[in-house]
């Protein structure tokens, strides 16, 4: 697969002489922008060049060069390749970079994440607080010189694990002890939740001031979560209510944060593959694909035909089961007592049977490899897939349609609520079904086809209303389109090898950067991988759709009822494993 050259049509350095230079490092593309000119360049890109969707913002710590870099990836919703641009700042405290939230509000949560994990201060950010780690956390854990508790070595495989052939407990021998540090004046024993939460609550208060009305009623501050039945895990939303109406809302996350990206940077490239399964544990197949795509771009390997077809089959099956489960769980959020969810589970089990047959595992599939797949389809699996695709699933999707779409309560709960205009959806970097429900026909399978999606005939499903009902309809129709792709893929499945070259434990990845993105069921799933030629990635970043789609949560919920909040969270379709990383 040819990686399109990102810069062929646009010469930013000519437009902004002195402020923008081409990134000339070997293996790198894009532009390096002067911090002071960032907003100007960003506005130019968005308004004049049409790069309206800021896909991903992330930080990279170039410790040896004493530089901190912030990488922006912007795309056009009309399709085509994107543009990378970077801001470099000297690695001194405080590292300051202007915030692009005024241009792309979708950068909000991502910039907070970079502040949290890298300690880059975004000047002009409206609400710069820690997001994944807790208030009171000391240090910025993604920095290369940050050592976590029970730190051993920088990169796996840890040689310390078998000195002289003897295995020692890691805790026994690491020189850093438990390595837990705290800020000056911070005593964990005396910590009460009030002080660090103060920032969170004051960030809400400014909204309450606006709503003072003729009749004054008490606003109730409710912490929905982290223990709450319908936040899909340990997610917390701080909500201010006027009666039942949501006046203000802030998402609080990170309860499942495990610094997935740091673990990824310790691992070797291949060791990372099973880790990606754990992100969105409903769709490990798609997660694998995004990561494989990024590393394959770096390695420059091609994927054999048969493997490409099987990849498509697995990804689309994964999409169908995700959307099925979404429909069931969504109805659960609306208060239906598990019936739709169990109907969905019935079908999902059949799809998981197939995953189990090919990968050996039902949820954590770990099936993709760089340049192909781990194994070929076992005997009889294709027949099972055919049965499902040609007979059963189509009928089941129709059954869901028949049972749910016209249900009066469902319509009353979903229609016209949490409307998101296409402009807002794009500005907030929404992707996936939520964006398409707002009427933006943006599907990476069509906008920038990866794998062999350019060979298939399918429709990008859109709706115009942008409300929750539209999101439901989009997902329902996407299942049908996935079945359409599956039928073509099964018909075209060739014989042949399933991996390029010999399967190997250690891959050689040339230095450089690559951004592999796929249309995961929940939205754009991107992996930004930087290699410096060593066995471990220098930077491994996940652009998680669950995380970034939450940026607009507040906008969607304010003015609605508390019951709507639950439904809206449901329609965004988040998975906490991916959200908190």
């Amino acid at each position: 697969m040819a990686t399109p050259t990102l810069t062929e049509t646009l010469d930013l350095s000519a437009k902004f002489p002195g402020a923008v230079t081409a990134d000339a490092r070997p293996g790198y593309t894009g532009w390096i922008v002067e911090a002071g000119k960032l907003l100007e360049v960003a506005a130019f890109l968005r308004d004049e060049m049409g790069y309206d969707l800021l896909s991903s913002v992330t930080g990279v710590d170039y410790l040896p060069d004493e530089k901190m870099e912030v990488v922006y990836q912007a795309y056009k919703t009309t399709g085509g390749p994107g543009i990378f641009f970077k801001v470099q700042a000297p690695r001194l405290d405080p590292i300051e970079v202007p915030s692009v939230v005024p241009i792309w509000p979708g950068a909000d949560l991502q910039e907070r994440e970079i502040w949290d994990l890298y300690g880059v201060k975004f000047t002009g950010h409206p609400d710069l607080r820690r997001i994944l780690t807790w208030e009171g956390f000391s240090g910025h854990p993604m920095r290369k010189d940050w050592k976590e508790a029970f730190y051993e070595e920088d990169a796996k495989p840890f040689k310390s694990r078998w000195p002289e052939g003897r295995i020692k407990m890691a805790e026994e021998r690491n020189p850093f002890g438990d390595n837990v540090t705290f800020d000056e004046g911070f005593d964990p024993e005396k910590w009460t939740s009030n002080d660090p939460e103060e920032a969170l609550y004051t960030s809400l208060k400014k909204y309450t001031a606006e709503t003072s009305d003729g009749i004054k009623t008490d606003h109730i501050l409710v912490n929905m979560g982290p223990q709450h039945p319908s936040t899909h895990g340990v997610f917390r939303a701080v909500v201010i209510l006027d009666g039942e109406t949501v006046v203000s809302l802030k998402p609080v996350m990170g309860y499942l944060h495990r610094n997935h990206e740091k673990i990824g940077e310790r691992n070797t490239f291949l060791q990372n593959m099973p880790y990606t399964d754990r992100l969105d544990y409903f769709n490990s197949m798609s997660n694998n694909w995004g990561y494989a795509l990024a590393v394959e771009k770096l390695m420059g390997v091609a994927v054999p035909e048969r493997a490409e077809y099987i990849r498509v089959i697995m990804a689309e099956l994964s999409r169908i089961q995700n959307h099925l489960i979404w429909t069931g769980m969504m109805l659960n959020d609306l208060g239906a007592y598990f019936t739709p969810a169990l109907y969905a589970f019935e079908e999902r089990e059949l799809i998981l049977d197939i995953f189990e047959a090919v990968a050996g595992s039902r949820m954590m599939c770990n099936y993709f490899r760089f340049g192909g797949l781990a194994r070929d389809l076992p005997e009889g699996t294709l027949e099972k897939i055919k049965d499902l695709v040609f007979d059963r699933l189509a009928a089941k999707v129709d059954e869901f349609d028949r049972l749910l779409t016209e249900n009066e309560i469902l319509v009353a709960r979903l229609k016209g609520i949490s409307k998101l205009s296409p402009e807002d959806a794009v500005a907030y970097s929404m992707t996936g079904p939520v964006l398409r429900a707002a009427g933006v026909p943006y599907d990476i399978r069509r906008a920038e086809p990866y794998g062999i999606y350019d060979r298939f005939d399918f429709d990008v499903v859109t709706q115009t209303d942008g409300d929750m009902y539209a999101r439901y309809l989009v997902r329902l129709e996407e299942m049908r389109q996935s079945l359409r792709i599956l039928r073509q893929a099964i018909a075209g499945l060739p014989e042949g090898p399933i991996i390029t070259g010999k399967p190997q434990y250690q891959v050689r990845v040339p230095a450089g950067e690559a951004y592999g993105r796929i249309e995961a069921p929940k939205g754009e799933l991107g992996y930004y991988v930087i290699s410096n030629g060593k066995p471990n990635p220098w930077r491994y970043h996940v652009r998680a759709p669950s995380f970034i789609n939450l940026t607009a949560l507040e906008k969607m919920c304010v003015g609605g009822k508390i019951a709507d909040f639950v439904a809206i969270l449901g329609t965004i379709d988040i998975v906490l494993g991916e959200l908190d990383r």
Binding site: D213, G214, I215, T217, D218, G243
Partner: protein
């Protein structure tokens, strides 16, 4: 007769105690609850008097509907704890004076005007039949039709007034 008397005494005690409790409770919710108990004991009085319809209506309307609304409002406003109220200087003497007048009136009526009990309380048999209920209906909708309707219009006006007062004008502010 003695059973009735004992019941009456107990109920009277409960009624007075709950009324006092309502007055002296510092927590508005407790006050409301005491009032509910008070209504309930009054309903039992009606039962003792052989007027089950009034008793049930008392419970349904006062305890079941009105006091629930009271509780609703108290909870909605979060006004459980009464703020210390400034007592107006003339309030207490006035209250005592008015109470004295009330007691005097009641005593006067009770002593001088009260008829023998047999005259007031109709025999239980006639009350506890459907006929009595029908008579009540007849009285309400024939003899006292005008007051009845005026009362209902008054309530309607109050309701409309409440809505007008709270409703925002169109386009005023969303």
């Amino acid at each position: 007769m003695t059973v009735d008397l004992i019941l009456f005494l107990i109920l009277a005690l409960v009624a007075v105690a709950t009324a006092a409790g309502m007055l002296f409770s510092r927590n508005a919710v407790y006050s409301a609850l005491f009032l509910v108990l008070n209504f309930a004991s009054i309903a039992v009085f009606y039962l003792l008097l052989g007027a089950p319809f009034i008793a049930m209506a008392q419970i349904t309307v006062y305890a079941g509907a009105i006091m629930v609304l009271f509780l609703f409002v108290i909870m909605l406003l979060g006004a459980e704890q009464l703020a210390p109220i400034k007592v107006l200087p003339w309030q207490r003497p006035l209250a005592i004076g008015l109470a004295a007048v009330l007691v005097a009136e009641t005593a006067y009526l009770l002593i001088l005007r009260a008829k023998p009990a047999a005259d007031i309380i109709p025999p239980a048999e006639t009350v506890n039949t459907l006929g009595e209920l029908q008579r009540l209906g007849m009285a309400l909708f024939n003899q006292y039709l005008l007051p009845f309707e005026v009362t209902s219009i008054l309530l309607l006006v109050a309701m409309v007034g409440a809505i007008v007062l709270t409703k925002r004008e169109k386009g005023e502010r969303e």
